[in-house]
């Protein structure tokens, strides 16, 4: 069943050529075999269980990022502070997938508490890129991207706060889709930065992304930010034409792709553009304020650090999680948190707390929120004229693993190519990464971002791009 898409598995199961339990068993075997090298999983489910359903996902195995609550099943956020936490309620995403008959086969590794972009900071160890074990998968949805890339599952669920589904998708050569903010309920998903957090899907192809999104999207009374239900399914409306679609890319971002791998990425990108134009798609180069582009990452960093500090203040060891020693409640809190959080997370929290201090809020927090507004305002103007923004998903292939160093994205060399995906989070835009080629034998990808609530259009265009580039892997 390895490398099969959802629809392919669906036919095999429906035609009786294989049972869903057999598929599950194959899946967990592959997962177990890969743990020594890739280490994508925190938990591999040992018992097959499935609910009755006639949906497309019935009997299909999948992996769930370990920051989604699953009742009765360990959910750790890949952090020691939750290493023994067993939720007593389900996240909405998990509940919907269960009801659709999908079969959970494992919980995947993430960067601790989703705060990272390498896949190297989970408490059960680093995740290695299945395509090249000396390289990272990217993060924070590291394990989910790896699981799909390895072929153990046709789809996996992740979360995307700055690029955490769409960047690892690029590094692992799979499709990573992040719908509009509020399209999928965040109830039960551990929060990182609430105004930037999105649920995302990793699959082998665009159709599968549409199928899964159809099942898990929808208004949820437990999440006040969810959007009204749509009366149609994405997967049933994917066919369209590139003829007449208008896309744009940002001149300044491509211009920064001047050296080394980035240059090859740009070359591949222009190639893709050319192919789209041949299909009748209009693709235009647009200039965007460079001063805004240059501060995308710090803006993201400031807002997300600030929000994450507050979101993780419930982790004290009192009601759940490992509990530190202490003679007073404060001592217990201090020991629990000191032992439970890795040092990098603590540094982020301190920065986040500093940002929210009364005397710092104006210059740090509020300014970052103003920049967010500026970028989103400019983007919205462009989306009035264009169907979507298309760009290379990353500045190169998956970097080599260097366990002692987080990729320094805050440094003086801003890499516009590396950091633009956060635009999709600032404005809550639907955004999808699809593989577009190789450098050597490592994949690279393009990313398409469309306007708010335009998820169907986004998937339709992506579907056509995929066809144009030669289809699924």
């Amino acid at each position: 069943m390895k490398d099969k898409s959802i629809l392919e598995l669906r036919s095999l199961i429906d035609e009786g050529k294989i049972t869903s339990e057999e598929v599950f068993n194959e899946s967990i075997k592959m997962a177990n075999d890969s743990q020594g090298t890739v280490n994508a999983f925190v938990t591999i489910i040992d018992k097959y269980s499935k609910e009755e359903s006639d949906s497309l996902l019935s009997g299909i195995p999948y992996a769930l990022k370990d920051n989604f609550s699953t009742k009765g099943i360990l959910t750790t956020g890949s952090s020691n502070i939750l290493k023994d936490y067993i939720p007593v309620f389900d996240s909405t995403v998990y509940k919907k997938l269960k009801e659709a008959g999908a079969v959970l086969m494992g919980k995947t590794v993430l960067d601790e508490l989703a705060m990272g972009g390498s896949g190297l900071t989970g408490h059960t160890g680093i995740v290695r890129n299945p395509l090249d074990n000396t390289r990272i998968t990217g993060g924070s949805s590291a394990g989910s991207a790896a699981a799909v890339a390895m072929g153990t599952v046709p789809f996996a669920i992740g979360s995307d706060t700055g690029d955490s589904v769409r960047k690892p998708a690029s590094y692992c050569g799979v499709v990573g889709f992040k719908p509009t903010y509020g399209r999928i309920s965040r109830w039960g998903m551990f929060p990182f930065a609430s105004s930037l957090d999105h649920v995302g899907v990793l699959t082998r192809n665009v159709m599968d992304a549409a199928i899964v999104t159809d099942v898990i999207k929808g208004k949820d009374e437990k999440d006040m930010t969810t959007l009204e239900d749509e009366s149609f399914k994405y997967s049933e409306n994917l066919e369209s034409s590139l003829e007449g679609k208008k896309l744009f890319y940002i001149k300044e971002i491509l211009e920064s792709a001047a050296l080394g791998e980035a240059k090859e990425v740009a070359s591949n990108f222009y190639d893709v553009i050319h192919k789209l134009k041949e299909k009748g798609c209009i693709v235009e180069e647009i200039s965007f304020r460079k001063d805004l582009l240059e501060v995308i990452y710090p803006t993201y960093f400031i807002i997300s650090c600030a929000e994450s500090t507050s979101n993780n203040s419930n982790l004290t060891g009192f009601i759940f999680g490992p509990r530190g020693k202490g003679d007073t409640p404060e001592e217990v809190m201090i020991n629990t948190r000191s032992e439970g959080f890795a040092e990098m997370i603590k540094r982020r929290f301190i920065i986040g707390s500093y940002i929210l201090e009364r005397e710092n809020q104006e210059k740090l927090f509020l300014n970052a929120k103003r920049v967010r507004n500026m970028i989103v305002t400019e983007m919205n103007k462009l989306f009035e004229k264009y169907d979507g923004l298309v760009l290379p998903a990353a500045g190169g292939v998956a970097p080599k693993i260097n366990p002692s160093e987080e990729v320094d994205r805050l440094g003086d060399e801003y890499l516009l190519l590396e950091n633009h995906l956060a635009i999709g989070n600032f404005g809550g835009y639907p955004s999808i990464t699809l593989p577009s080629g190789f450098i050597g034998n490592m994949p690279i990808a393009v990313n398409l971002t469309c306007k708010v609530k335009d998820d169907l259009n986004c998937l339709q265009i992506a579907y056509q791009i995929e066809k144009t580039l030669g289809g699924e892997r």
Binding site: V88, G188, S195, T225, S310, S313, N314
Partner: protein
């Protein structure tokens, strides 16, 4: 010399069915952790679900207190760490509080005063703790219960003003149906901010804050103590420290908790998981219309109709009693008489029998008819007392009682004159005594006549005719 400058922060727990940001039950219970959900415990992945009724009640109170109200709903996070705060932040309002720049007018010893309301906002309560020997226990029943916080400007200067403000505020809260406001159940908590200044000073003194006072009596004790403590400190050349204190009831004094000098920075920011909800004018109008006539206004009306201030105050103390009285007044009878009956007889009966005004048999129309029967001379006031008792005991209307027991007052002069003559002829000695100057015996003849009439004779007429007959 020194005068007290006092501001109050009052927290009142709302009587909604469910909690403010979660769907768990909001109900006072003695069983620990009976009304809890994953949201109240701040388990990872929960999201806040704001309660529309909490919003309504907060807006309603804001309107009762003459505040400016916003056009949208926004909440903020107040971040700090404490054992009773599961999320590590409290959901409250900073950016768009439900009330600003309001006021409450009070009347103290005949003088009117305006206490300005700085702000009114909606927030959630924390968990409660009980302390044992070596450990503390956390009960999350209270975690997430909706609270309204009402903050005044430091406009009060005396204990009387403080008490008057608190009594009025509680009355309004109960009239608006927002909270039971029971002190025993901890549903009304007061923080006192107090400083002292000399009359001639232009700036306020340093203030101390005494938190979490549960009863109005304790508020009085706290203020009296603090006024003395601060005045003594200042007079002897010392300085008042800006700090939080608590009332130690066993020692009858305030005790320092922590110095407020290094004030905690709560790092407020807008709650991102609650999208901004617009409050349209219809929604707000509906709330405004649901506000009943408030106690102060009702008192003024009753007093203007002749009711004594003391009785008026008694009547408005509870909305149900005032509503009852309003109904009685619809029957166009003397307000003063009606208020007497209500406050002395009916409320006395209610207290003795542990009944509320809604449970008592005598309905407003019946009380009105009783008063009317007396004022039209159909029965005497003495008889009315009996009718009242019979009516309640036998659960029959006063009219029915009077009819059944044939208690109609006799006012016919012919009939009474007969009785008077009968009494005079049956009591020749007293008649002689009266004639020879013992005029006090008038009362005797009146009493005897009333007796003969079985209490039915109109006393005024009896008096008149006895005098006439005796003086013949």
């Amino acid at each position: 010399m020194y005068k007290a400058v006092i501001g109050l922060e009052v927290h009142t727990e709302l009587n909604t069915k469910s909690k403010m940001f979660s769907g768990s039950k909001n109900e006072y219970t003695k069983e620990a952790n009976a009304n809890i959900s994953e949201i109240d415990l701040a388990l990872p992945g929960i999201l806040p679900l704001p309660n529309i009724e909490g919003v309504r009640k907060a807006l309603k109170l804001a309107m009762c207190l003459n505040c400016e109200t916003p056009d949208e709903v926004m909440f903020d996070r107040k971040n700090y760490y404490y054992a009773d705060l599961p999320k590590g932040y409290q959901l409250t309002q900073m950016t768009r509080p439900f009330g600003k720049n309001g006021y409450l007018d009070i009347d103290v010893n005949g003088k009117s005063k305006r206490v300005r309301i700085h702000q009114l906002h909606l927030e959630e309560d924390s968990a409660s703790m009980t302390h044992e020997s070596t450990y503390s226990l956390l009960d999350y029943n209270r975690a997430g219960v909706p609270l309204i916080e009402i903050v005044t400007e430091p406009d009060m200067n005396t204990i009387d003003e403080v008490v008057e403000y608190l009594e009025n505020l509680r009355s309004i809260i109960k009239y608006a149906g927002i909270s039971e406001a029971s002190s025993e159940k901890g549903q009304l908590r007061v923080d006192v901010n107090i400083s002292m200044m000399k009359e001639e000073d232009t700036t306020l003194g340093t203030r101390a804050e005494i938190k979490n006072i549960n009863s109005f009596n304790t508020v009085k004790e706290v203020i009296a103590y603090e006024m003395k403590r601060q005045e003594e400190l200042l007079s002897s050349g010392g300085k008042v420290v800006q700090e939080t204190r608590r009332w130690a009831d066993d020692e009858k004094k305030t005790v320092s908790m922590r110095e407020k000098v290094d004030a905690i920075d709560y790092r407020y920011y807008v709650e991102p998981n609650i999208p901004v909800v617009k409050l349209n004018s219809e929604f707000k109008e509906e709330i405004r219309k649901s506000i009943p006539v408030l106690p102060m206004e009702r008192m003024k009306k009753y007093v203007s109709l002749g009711v004594s201030e003391k009785d008026a105050k008694s009547i408005v103390r509870e909305k149900s009693i005032s509503d009852y009285f309003d109904e009685v007044l619809l029957y166009n009878i003397d307000a003063r008489d009606a208020s007497n009956w209500l406050t002395t007889r009916l409320m006395g009966y209610m207290n003795q029998n542990n009944l509320t005004i809604d449970e008592v048999y005598l309905r407003p129309d019946m009380l009105a008819s009783l008063v009317s029967l007396v004022n039209t001379g159909k029965i005497s006031s003495q008889q009315a007392k009996d009718v009242f008792v019979f009516s309640l005991e036998e659960e029959k209307t006063p009219l029915e009682i009077v009819k059944e027991k044939g208690m109609e007052q006799i006012s016919d002069e012919e009939t009474i004159r007969e009785m008077v003559r009968e009494v005079i002829s049956s009591n020749p000695n007293q008649y002689e005594a009266y004639k020879s100057g013992k005029t006090a015996l008038l009362g005797f003849f009146v009493g005897q006549t009333l007796k003969v009439s079985e209490g039915k004779a109109n006393p005024a007429v009896v008096n008149k005719l006895v005098q006439e007959e005796l003086n013949k």
